[in-house]
Symmetry: C2
Subunit: 222 residues, 2 copies
């Protein structure tokens, strides 16, 4: 089968991959050995299904590859899907992994005299400028976002801004940096995401894989 | 000395830090022990100079912290400085480390019949949309950029686009992915970068540190 006619499953690099792989395997997909070889420089992998390849890329890039139809199926957190906000991506399944939330936080000493319902303008350091601007715009607050790629928790101490919008899991990192969660913007889990055009033009194959993931989740829940 | 009145030196995380630290130390700056502790979750570190702290953040965030005046001095590649393109950042010293280049590449089989001087519109996967658009605009070519955070080399094979703009060091990764360098956009090294306002308002301290880095480079070259 030629490389171009194969379906491509895009998986996210990093910590979340450990939670994703048991579901991928329960859906009957076994990548070639190089996938688990930490020394491999390969980016694309064959599987036990000749018609299905896997790519392993950063979580934001999973959304980009799917949105442009270069990958057909993938796994991404809904933080990434909400930030990316593409009409070309449809996310039919909640995989029930990667639980966390996107929250607004600010320094403990500031929060004690602060009432979020009275904010009129906020300056926020975040990896999620689109999510942040939409969230605040809905209640008439203009959010000026400073895009950071990491270490958001540093920003208030450094005088970059008073508030941050970030992924929060246990809350330990916020606490360690003297920050308090003010509001939760949304709950996050990882989703199975698919390219809408592929779902129409290669309906049988795509539906088959979505069904396989759904069965894997049902078996896990049972 | 209060945290707010200290000067902050922003250093980039990752591989380049190993090349940066000998210069930082030659400039007489020794961070606290936690800086070299891989288990430390700290993001800000004191140094042997009570008036100088260090933060360690991603390379793009070094530029953001300096541009907003939350860090006063820092080290960043000119890829980051060119992409960020802030009038608030002044880069007085080339540190002579982190040598690489930003290049345009495309698949070997495409390149054999392709003449870059005849391009009128290009679609490009890159981490550097600003650099890419400016470079092509200068010769009247409109570049449609697809922003990826990594694994750019995958994009042509996946049908995302024909061409990429990426950092190239040895060229081995391009070759391994069947890509050929078509043009070099610019040569890259790491620079000492400073916040312009701090250079005016805290002129003595700032000039002193720039001078210390210059002496460290001169000693290395001698």
């Amino acid at each position: 089968m030629s490389e171009k006619s194969k379906l491509v499953l895009a998986l996210p690099k990093g910590r979340i991959l450990e939670e994703v792989m048991p579901i991928v395997r329960a859906a009957g997909i076994e990548p070639e050995a190089a996938f688990d070889d930490p020394k491999s420089r390969a980016l694309r992998f064959s599987t036990n299904h000749p018609e299905l390849d896997i790519i392993r890329v950063r979580s934001f890039d999973v959304a980009t590859f799917i949105a442009f139809g270069a990958a057909h199926i993938g796994v991404a957190g809904n933080d990434v899907l909400l930030e990316f906000d593409s009409t070309e991506i449809y996310a039919p399944l909640d995989l029930g992994i990667g639980y966390c939330r996107i929250s607004v936080a600010e320094p403990k000493e500031a929060s004690e005299n602060d009432d979020p319902t009275r904010w009129s303008h906020v300056r926020i350091a975040t990896k999620y400028p689109n999510i942040t601007q939409r969230y605040f715009a809905e209640r008439g607050v203009q959010a000026e976002c400073i895009k950071l790629n990491g270490a958001m928790e540093l920003a208030p101490r450094m005088g970059l801004c008073q508030r941050i919008v970030d992924l929060v899991s246990s809350g330990a990192t916020l606490k360690a940096n003297g920050l308090v969660e003010m509001e939760t913007i949304c709950e996050i889990t990882s989703r199975l995401a698919v390219n809408r055009t592929a779902l129409k033009t290669r309906s049988d194959e795509m539906t088959n894989w979505i069904e396989k993931f759904r069965e894997a989740l049902d078996a896990k829940a049972a």
